[in-house]
């Protein structure tokens, strides 16, 4: 096979006021014809800038300062903008992360695709329009001819991404660059889109560069992988070799930080200390050295070059890891001194008494029309009769796609939303019944940890004041006591005491999440509702935060309601898992029961859709997943709400709503007429839900 794209020693700099960011610093890689190259790395490592350099679509101040980019035998790095325009969209297509902001909301999708065709092909408007219908059909848009005149807002997120792909493919490029194409999508939709890209690659015989932070996405889709760190490629080889035998310590650390690898053993995750370096003043020597557990003085002085025993597997490290370690089932088994120490902490938690119980929670959001007299024209059924209990000291994980109501449940528990119906009892007291001072007092017991710590911390307040505020509001302690408490909490979450003087934007993402957690802890709550606390973080930082949450749960005896779309994270942290679909709790049980023996078809589909960092397992998976998209919650389907996407659905599913019934081990409940696990005979009332 010949290389379609070859990048040699590419250097891209971005000129900013305070200096030059060396965003891409000597990247060498190639993409063969018909192959998928995965480019993986944490945010800020230069993967997107590499992709943008190929297209010469760099942001203001950015320019290529060295190296060559050869596409099909022609150097395109020095082309002027006219020549470049002929390549963009024609020979190289690109799709971005956010399909909504990439599409023009004022033009119909057909017109936008036709525009791309007219630019590069000598065709009439009508022919271009026909081509638009053709490619929309190609990317699996149902009823393409009818929908071609619709506008971007009339499409769902997954469909919009399909439109973006159609636009990128309209001129049949030889190379498709997909920059985090599925990061904004749910796992079930992610699987559909990745399948589509894979399928189109084979059918159209093009090459793909798949840029992502998600090792799982890479595992199933890429032929070869380039791992990037701080503007450089640190390791590159074919996918199966990389996953079985990573040689660069950074690659190895990324694998160790994945919660899915520790889900069964529940050992502490390996977290890479610190954060990626500043690319204005990169450290001398190996850029990973400050965070590397094997680094020596040589690493800090000299910059290792990309080399290896074979040209097929190269890595930039003086002291490559791996090779001697045992691999089991394609996964690394690494036992470390530091980790073995903490392993004894994996005792089975003693289930305490029920701290919080929710019964038949319902939340409808009104849909109104009219600016002045807001007429109620319907309601969104966000949560429809959900019951569960949380026991002291345990973690209940709630999973589901976006729009399934899991966040609404969390917000109802902390009082940010009022339930339309249903009861929330905390320590036996009905939370809805209290008001005024008792209400404020009860608020102390349940605290909320926001997903986006940046948005949830007041940018105009110093960290010290942010942490003191809960105590001031609740009139707890003197000023001196409050300051002491702030320092104690900072110590708990692993931030220095000097942090009190800083503003939220002066912290890194992981540090801010620690700060958000510290604020939630200030009032000594019993229950913490954590809404997607790690979904915005890189894998290595995610591991730091997850470890911290587990440690503090043990130390302070906390109870968590952990909300996430990421099943592997939920499984790692939770004792029990509840699976939600369109406002309904469809399955609940112990973490291993739900994960290993799912009874509901949706749970099974969700588990299969979630990509795992294991190429063999990924390739062995069925190509089905869950078809279709989440129906509207304004008019939810009758009977079982999942029936419209369920492979097992029959007539009864549309007519009778299934109740939660026990399956297998006690406490494992699922609401399905055709469960995948045998049902126990006696139907239980919701009161026995664990």
């Amino acid at each position: 096979m010949t290389a379609l794209l070859r990048i040699e020693d590419l250097r891209t700099h971005i000129q900013l006021k305070q200096g030059v960011v060396r965003a891409v610093d000597g990247v060498t890689l190639h993409v063969d014809e018909g192959e998928t190259l995965g480019v993986v790395g944490e945010s800020g490592c230069g993967k997107t800038m590499t992709a943008l350099s190929i297209m010469n679509l760099l942001p203001v101040g950015g320019h290529i300062v060295g190296g060559t980019i050869t596409l099909g035998g022609r150097d395109i790095s020095g082309l002027d903008s006219d020549a470049m325009r002929k390549i963009r969209g024609n020979e190289v297509g690109m799709i971005f992360q956010d399909p909504l902001s990439s599409l023009n909301p004022t033009h119909s999708v057909g017109r936008q695709i036709a525009e791309a065709v007219i630019l590069h092909r000598d065709v009439t408007k009508k022919e271009a329009y026909e081509r638009a219908v053709e490619v929309l059909d190609l990317v699996g848009l149902p009823r393409a001819r009818e929908r071609v005149d619709e506008f971007p807002h009339q499409f769902s997120g997954g469909m919009r991404q399909r439109v973006m792909i159609a636009m990128a493919l309209a001129c049949e490029p030889k190379l498709l660059i997909a920059d985090e194409p599925t990061t904004a999508l749910d796992v079930t939709i992610q699987k559909q889109i990745l399948e589509l890209i894979d399928d189109l690659r084979h059918r159209l015989g093009m090459s793909v560069i798949l840029v992502t932070h998600d090792l799982g996405v890479i595992a199933g889709r890429a032929d070869r992988v380039a791992v990037m760190y701080a503007g450089k490629v640190v390791e590159t080889t074919d996918t199966s070799t990389l996953f079985v035998n990573p040689r660069h310590p950074y690659t190895e650390a990324l694998f160790h930080a994945l919660p899915e690898n520790a889900a069964e053993t529940r050992v502490r995750l390996y977290s890479i200390p610190g954060a990626p370096p500043d690319l204005v003043n990169p450290p001398t020597g190996c850029r990973f050295a400050p965070r590397c557990r094997y680094a020596t003085d040589r690493c800090r002085a000299e910059d290792p070059l990309l080399s290896g025993e074979t040209t097929a597997h190269t890595y930039a490290c003086f002291f490559p890891v791996g090779a001697t370690e045992k691999t089991v089932g394609g996964r690394l088994v690494v036992v470390e001194a530091a980790q073995t120490e903490s392993e004894h902490t994996e005792e089975v938690p003693v289930p305490g008494e029920v701290v919080l119980s929710a019964r038949d929670l319902v939340k409808d959001f009104p849909v109104t029309r009219g600016a002045l007299l807001q007429r109620r024209v319907g309601s969104v059924s966000a949560v429809a009769g959900v019951s569960f209990d949380i026991r002291r000291g345990e973690t209940l994980g709630l999973v589901g796609e976006s729009g399934c109501g899991k966040t609404t449940i969390g917000r109802m528990l902390v009082g940010l939303e009022k339930p339309t119906a249903g009861v929330i009892r905390f320590d036996g007291k009905d939370l809805a019944k209290s008001s005024g001072r008792t209400y404020r007092h009860e608020r102390r017991e349940i605290q909320y940890m926001f997903q986006d710590s940046y948005a949830s911390l007041d940018p105009r307040m110093r960290a010290g004041m942010i942490l003191r505020e809960p105590l001031i509001v609740q009139h707890m302690g003197s000023r001196k006591e409050q300051t002491a408490k702030v320092k104690e909490m900072l110590g708990h979450v692993g931030l220095p005491e000097t942090a009190t003087e800083r503003y939220p934007h002066e912290f890194s993402g992981g540090q801010r999440q620690r700060l958000g957690f510290a604020r939630a802890l200030m009032l000594n709550p019993q229950l913490i509702v954590a809404d997607e606390p790690v979904s915005a973080l890189d894998v290595s930082i995610q591991a730091q935060v997850l470890n911290m949450m587990r440690d503090l749960q043990r130390e302070l005896g906390l109870t968590y309601l952990f909300i996430s779309h990421d099943l592997s994270v939920v499984r790692y942290l939770s004792n029990h898992i509840g699976v939600m679909y369109l406002g309904k709790l469809v399955e609940i049980g112990t973490a291993d029961e739900v994960y290993l023996r799912p009874a509901h078809p949706y749970t099974k589909g969700l588990i299969e859709s979630a990509p795992t960092a294991d190429p063999e397992a990924e390739r062995a998976k069925s190509h089905e997943g869950i078809s279709g998209e989440l129906p509207s919650a304004i008019h939810p389907p009758s009977g079982c709400r999942f029936r419209t996407r369920c492979p097992l659905a029959q007539e009864i599913c549309a007519n009778v709503e299934p109740e939660l019934r026990p399956h297998g081990v006690a406490g494992h409940l699922a609401a399905c007429h055709f469960p995948l696990q045998p049902a126990l005979e006696v139907p239980v009332a919701a009161e026995q839900v664990s």
């Binding site: 954060a275 500043d278 400050p290 940010l416 986006d452 890194s508 604020r519």
Partner: protein, 304 residues
């Protein structure tokens, strides 16, 4: 300078260096502000005009109480640097005391209107619903009144002292501030850090005073700066129509109006240009400052 702070912040992230002295909001805002040379010139001019108006009379003694027909419309000379007006007042000295009135009225009217408008707008936006609808219709009504007409009517009814004029201008100006702050509040109240106050059991007033207003402060200060310029201009307009402060006190607009009577009779340029230029330069200076402040309080720019 900025370079050093940023890289040291990064170094702290890596746990390599101790935290440096963190910069406060004002400090960071000043760094962005100082990059705008026009705004610095504006600040320089505003300082100059204040010193000129309030300290000038200490060094340049003139009689601004009694008319003196001997110096009627005298040309600029050694004893009267900018000549005299039609009542024999020294023009330069008059420019100083007229400026005092203009600046006092401008600042006071801006301050009052911004204070009232901010509180009104923030409460309206935060409470929302029917309360918001009623409060905003009142603002709509207020904004639909033609300002100059109200000023003329009220100046005829009340004796136009500076205090009365301040209150009239503030009354007319706060509606706009209220509407602007309300818009800002609508976006701020959905922010998670405002919701976080509810989770810790805080009262709504805490959200408004501690979180919403401080985060809207950029908009408020910018609006306040423009309000100063607008108020000075409005006062000049009122004075120009002959409805300004009563003699022997004066303001720049009244001076301009007085000079206009002699514009055709001869070359009495010193009656027209000094107050006219003073009005224009002061307003431009405040507008430059306002523009730069808008950038300075944009947190995105501070983080560079």
């Amino acid at each position: 300078m900025a370079d050093v702070t940023i890289s040291s912040a990064r170094a702290t992230e890596l746990g390599l260096a101790p935290a440096g002295k963190p910069r406060g909001m004002i400090r960071r805002a000043w760094e962005v502000f100082a990059e705008n040379k026009l705004a610095l010139a504006g600040v320089g001019f505003v300082i100059f005009i204040f010193l000129f108006c309030f300290l000038g009379p200490v060094f340049y003694h003139t009689n601004q109480v009694n008319t003196d027909l001997e110096t009627y419309l005298c040309h600029p000379s050694g004893s009267h640097l900018l000549g005299c007006d039609d009542l024999g007042y020294d023009e330069l000295g008059r420019l100083m005391i007229g400026g005092q009135t203009s600046l006092e009225v401008g600042l006071a009217a801006a301050l009052i209107s911004v204070l009232i408008g901010t509180l009104y707008g923030a409460i309206s936006g935060f409470v929302g619903g029917a309360v918001d609808a009623v409060m905003m219709r009142i603002v709509d009504a207020g904004l639909s009144i033609p300002g100059l007409m109200v000023i003329i009517i009220l100046s005829v009814i009340f004796h136009p002292t500076p205090l009365v004029i301040i209150l009239i201008i503030a009354f007319l100006y706060w509606f706009g501030v209220a509407r602007l702050v309300r818009g800002e509040t609508l976006t701020l109240r959905t922010r998670e850090y405002v919701q976080a106050v509810r989770v810790i059991g805080g009262r709504p007033m805490r959200s408004v005073l501690r979180h919403i207003i401080p985060n809207a402060i950029g908009t408020i200060i910018v609006q306040g700066t423009f309000a100063v310029a607008d108020s000075i201009l409005t006062l000049s307009g009122v004075g120009f129509l002959g409805l300004g402060v009563a003699p022997p006190a004066t303001d720049w607009g009244s001076m301009l109006s007085g000079g206009l009577n002699y514009i055709q009779g001869g070359n009495y340029w010193w009656l027209i240009y000094p107050p006219g230029v003073a009005i224009i330069l002061t307003c431009i200076a405040f507008n430059f400052i306002g523009d730069a402040l808008r950038d300075a309080f944009e947190t995105r720019l501070q983080r560079r």
